[in-house]
Amino acid sequence: MASVVFYFQVHQPIRLRHYTVFDKSSRYFDDNKNAQICKKVSGKCYLPANRLMLELIRRYEGRFKIAYSVTGTLLEQLEHFSPEVMSTFHALAETGCVEFLAETYYHSLSFIYSRGEFVEQVEKHCETMKRLFGYEPKVFRNTELIYNNELAHQIEAMNQFDAILCEGADHILGYRSPNYVYKPQGCQKLRLLMKNYSLSDDIAFRFSNRGWTQWPLTADKFTQWVNKVNGNGYVVNLFMDYETFGEHQWADTGIFDFMRHLPDEIFKHPDNDFKTPSEAAMAYEPVGEIDVPHLTSWADTERDLSAWLGNPMQSSAIHELYRIENKIKAVGDEELLMDWRKLQTSDHFYYMCTKYFSDGDVHKYFNPYDSPYDSFINFMNVLSNLHKRCERPSIADESRAPALG
C-alpha cells in the first residue's frame, strides 16, 4: 500500500513599508506592495491551482485528497485583495476531501521564544479554520517544519491533535525510511508524519531544472518512483509550498499539467491511494519512535534555523521583539497586539539572512529589501516605535489611518 499524502503550505507575510527612524506613524505595513504581491500570486498560483484541485477532486469523486496549511497573515490579505481565492478555498473545504492543518496564525517562531504566545497563536489559527472553513484541525505543523521532541510534547499536551509533521531529514532518520508512520519520542498517542524530501523536492525544486538528469519529469515517471515504495512503506509524504504551482515553477514549465495527470497514473496501481495527513496517521500503526532533541527545519541543506537566526542581527531583532511581550500584553490595546504579532512572522527574519546574500541566490527573489541590513534597520525602527506605544499608548499613535486587518 502506498498512500500519497499531499500537504501544501500557503503563506504570504504582511510586509513592512519603508520606515525610517524619523517616522512617527503607527502604520507599519505596505498595503500597496502587499496587495500587489497578493494579487499577482493569486493570479499565477492560488486561483489556477485551487481550480485544478477542485477539478481533480470532482473527477475522482472523493478519491483524490489533499491538505493545506494556510496562514492567518495570508488569509487576512486574501479577504481584502483576492476574495475570489477565498471562495475557491471555501469550495475546496466543502468537498470533504481537503484537510486544513493547524499552525501558528502568524507563521511565527514563537515556539522557540514564548510558549504562552505560541499556544495563543495556534488557538487563534484553529479558531480561524473553524470560522472560515468549518474545520477543526487534527494535525499540527510548525512554521518551516521547525521541530523537536519538546514541540511534540507541547502539541500532545494541547490535547486536540492526532498528529504532527516534521522534516524527514537524514540526520534524524538515519537508516530508517520516511515512508512509515512514527511516534515522537516521549509521546503517548500523538503520531508523526515525516516529509519525503527527495520526492517532494523532485516536484518543488527540480521540476523545471533542465540540468537534472531526470528532466523532464512526467506523471508516469514520478508514479514509478512512488510505486517503488510499495512493499517497503505505507505513506509518501509530499510536503511543499503551494507556490510551487505557477510561482516557483511557472505555468509554462508544465507543472499544472503534471499535477492534472498525476492522480490517473497513481490510480493505475491498485494498491495506491491518496490520504489526508490525519487519515494517513490513523490508518497505519507507528513503526517506531523518532528522537529529535535539537531543533530542525525544512530549510536549506543544513535543515536548521540558520536562515532565521544565523547572524547577530537576526537574533538581536527577535530577542528584542519577544522581550516586550509582557509590556505589549499589559497595555491591552488590540491593535498594538496585532501589530506586534505581525512582526513575528518568520519572513521578517529571513530577510535579514546573510547566508545567501553573497551568491545572489534564488532566495533574493522573494526578498523585498535590497540587502539584509536594510531589512534589519527597517524592522528595528518599527520595533522602536511599537515599544514607544507601550509606554505612551495614546501619544505615540499620531496618525493612524484605517489599515489592513
Binding site: T20, V21, F22, P312, S316, T354, S358, F376, I377, N381
Partner: protein, 431 residues
C-alpha cells in the same frame, strides 16, 4: 609580458585614489612577473624612502630613473613635468606658482629641451601635457615593451604618441572622468583629451560598470572595447594593535562618524553635513569628523556653522599615514556620500581597518561590496536613518564590520593585475 606604463605618484607621495591604484596595480603586476617600465611625471625630490635606488641622474635631461628593491621587475622613470593629478586650470596655475616660488628644478630642465617653447608654459596645461607626451615618446624609443598602458587623461596624449611611434597596442585606463569631477560643467579641453584617448586606444579599462556606462553614454565609446577591472585593496596597511583614544575634542563616550577624502563637489561633503544635522536631531553623543582638504573646505566649515552643528563637526585637514590609521581606529562608521565616484578605494580601506561603511549608490565600489549600507547621495534622511541605525545597534555594526572586512580580503590587486594581463594578451593577438 613587458608594459610601458604611464602612471602617477609613488609612495610616499600619494595624494589620492589615482596614485594608490597605479601603485597597487603595478606592485601586483610585479609579483606576477610582468616587467613594467613605470613612467611618472614630476621628479621625486630627494626625500624618497631608503629602499629606492637611483639609476641615473643625467643633469641635462629631465628624466631620472630608479629601482625599488620591493619591485624587482619594475623600472621607474620620472619626468620633470608640471602635471598633478586632479588638476583643473585654476588649480594648475596655483600649483605652478607655488612650485616656482619653491625654486623647483623643472623650469631649468624644460629649458634644455628642444621642443620646449620657453616662457609660455605657465598656466598652460595644454602645452605641458603635450610636452610630457613628446618626452615620453622619445623615452619609449630606448625601452623594450609589448604594450602601452596609460592612466587618466593627462597621460593619454603621451600614450597615443608612444603607441604611434612604436606601433604597440595602447590600453587606456580610466579612474575618473571629467563628469565625475565637474558634474555637468565639464572642461572642454579635458573632455577632448579623454575622448581622444578612448577612441585612439585598442582597449579601454574602466574601474567600474558605473564608469563604463559614462564612457558609452557621454563619450560615445563602443562598449565592446571597454573592459571593467575593479580596483583591489592593499592588506598591508590594515589595522594593527594599539590605539590611544581621546584625541582633541572627542570624548570617550562619543560616537564618531567619519568622512575621509578630498572635500570637493564630487565627494558630496554638503550631503554629509545635512545628514549629520538630521542625526543630531535624534542623537546627542555623536561627533562628525571631516578628514581631508579640498576646494570646498571653507564652504563646508561655513555650512556646518550655518546648520548650527559647528561644535559637533571637526575638520582635521589632510591626513597621512599614521594619522589616517588613528582616525580609523577612533571611527565607528565611515560615510562616503559621493555624488559621482568612479570607484572609491577609501571604503575598502575603512573596512580593512574594521570600520563599517555607508557608501553612495553612485559609486563603482558599490558594485563589489555587498556588506555595506548603500544610499543615494541626495537622500539625506535615508543617510541619517542608516547612520543612526549603525550607531544604535551593535549587532548591525558588528555584522557589517566583520562580514565587510572578510569581503574586502577577496578584493586583491593580484586579480586586477591578472585581468589586465589578459587584456594585454588579447590586444597582442588582435594586432
Amino acid at each position: 609580458m613587458r608594459v610601458f606604463m604611464l602612471g602617477w605618484e609613488f609612495p610616499p607621495f600619494i595624494s589620492g585614489g589615482l596614485g594608490t591604484a597605479c601603485y597597487g596595480l603595478t606592485k601586483a603586476m610585479d609579483k606576477l612577473g610582468i616587467k613594467v617600465t613605470f613612467v611618472l611625471p614630476r621628479a621625486v625630490q630627494g626625500e624618497h624612502s631608503t629602499h629606492v635606488k637611483m639609476l641615473s641622474s643625467e643633469s641635462h635631461r629631465p628624466i631620472t630613473g630608479f629601482m625599488d628593491s620591493n619591485l624587482p621587475n619594475t623600472k621607474f622613470l620620472t619626468v620633470d613635468a608640471a602635471l598633478y593629478p586632479y588638476s583643473d586650470e585654476h588649480q594648475y596655475r596655483y600649483q605652478i606658482e607655488h612650485d616656482l616660488a619653491a625654486g623647483n628644478s623643472f623650469t631649468q630642465a624644460r629649458q634644455n629641451l628642444p621642443m620646449a617653447n620657453a616662457g609660455h608654459y605657465a598656466g598652460d596645461m595644454y602645452s605641458e601635457v603635450h610636452r610630457y607626451a613628446a618626452i615620453a615618446a622619445e623615452l619609449a624609443l630606448n625601452e623594450d615593451f609589448d604594450v602601452v598602458h596609460a592612466h587618466d587623461w593627462m597621460t593619454y596624449p603621451a600614450g597615443i604618441a608612444v603607441a604611434s611611434r612604436t606601433g604597440k597596442p595602447l590600453i587606456v585606463h580610466i579612474h575618473s572622468t571629467e563628469f565625475d569631477r565637474s558634474g555637468e560643467h565639464v572642461n572642454q579641453m579635458i573632455y577632448d583629451f579623454e575622448r581622444q584617448g578612448f577612441h585612439a586606444a585598442d582597449r579601454v579599462i574602466a574601474v567600474s560598470h558605473y564608469t563604463r556606462n559614462i564612457l558609452i553614454s557621454r563619450y560615445g565609446v563602443c562598449g565592446d572595447k571597454i573592459e571593467v577591472v575593479h580596483n583591489g585593496v592593499d592588506r598591508s596597511n590594515g589595522s594593527n594593535g594599539d590605539s590611544s583614544l581621546s584625541e582633541a575634542g572627542i570624548e570617550r563616550d562619543e560616537k564618531l562618524v567619519l568622512f575621509l577624502g578630498r572635500i570637493t563637489m564630487q565627494k558630496g561633503p554638503e550631503y554629509f553635513l545635512q545628514a549629520a544635522k538630521r542625526v543630531l536631531e535624534v542623537m546627542e553623543d555623536v561627533k562628525f569628523v571631516m578628514a581631508g582638504a579640498g576646494d570646498m573646505m571653507h564652504r563646508a566649515i561655513n555650512m556646518a556653522a550655518e546648520l548650527g552643528i559647528g561644535r559637533k563637526v571637526l575638520f582635521t585637514g589632510f591626513l597621512q599615514g599614521e594619522q589616517v590609521r588613528k582616525i580609523y581606529q577612533m571611527a565607528d562608521l565611515y560615510v562616503m556620500p559621493s555624488v559621482s565616484e568612479p570607484f572609491g578605494i577609501a571604503p575598502l580601506e575603512a573596512l580593512n581597518h574594521e570600520v563599517p561603511v555607508i557608501i553612495s549608490k553612485q559609486s563603482g565600489v558599490s558594485e563589489v561590496l555587498t556588506h555595506a549600507l548603500k544610499v543615494d547621495f541626495w537622500d539625506i534622511d535615508e543617510m541619517a536613518n542608516k547612520i543612526i541605525a549603525v550607531l544604535r545597534h551593535q549587532p548591525l555594526q558588528v555584522t557589517l564590520r566583520d562580514y565587510g572586512n572578510y569581503e574586502v580580503r577577496k578584493l586583491r590587486w593580484e586579480d586586477s593585475a591578472a585581468k589586465c594581463a589578459r587584456i594585454y594578451n588579447e590586444t597582442l593577438v588582435a594586432v
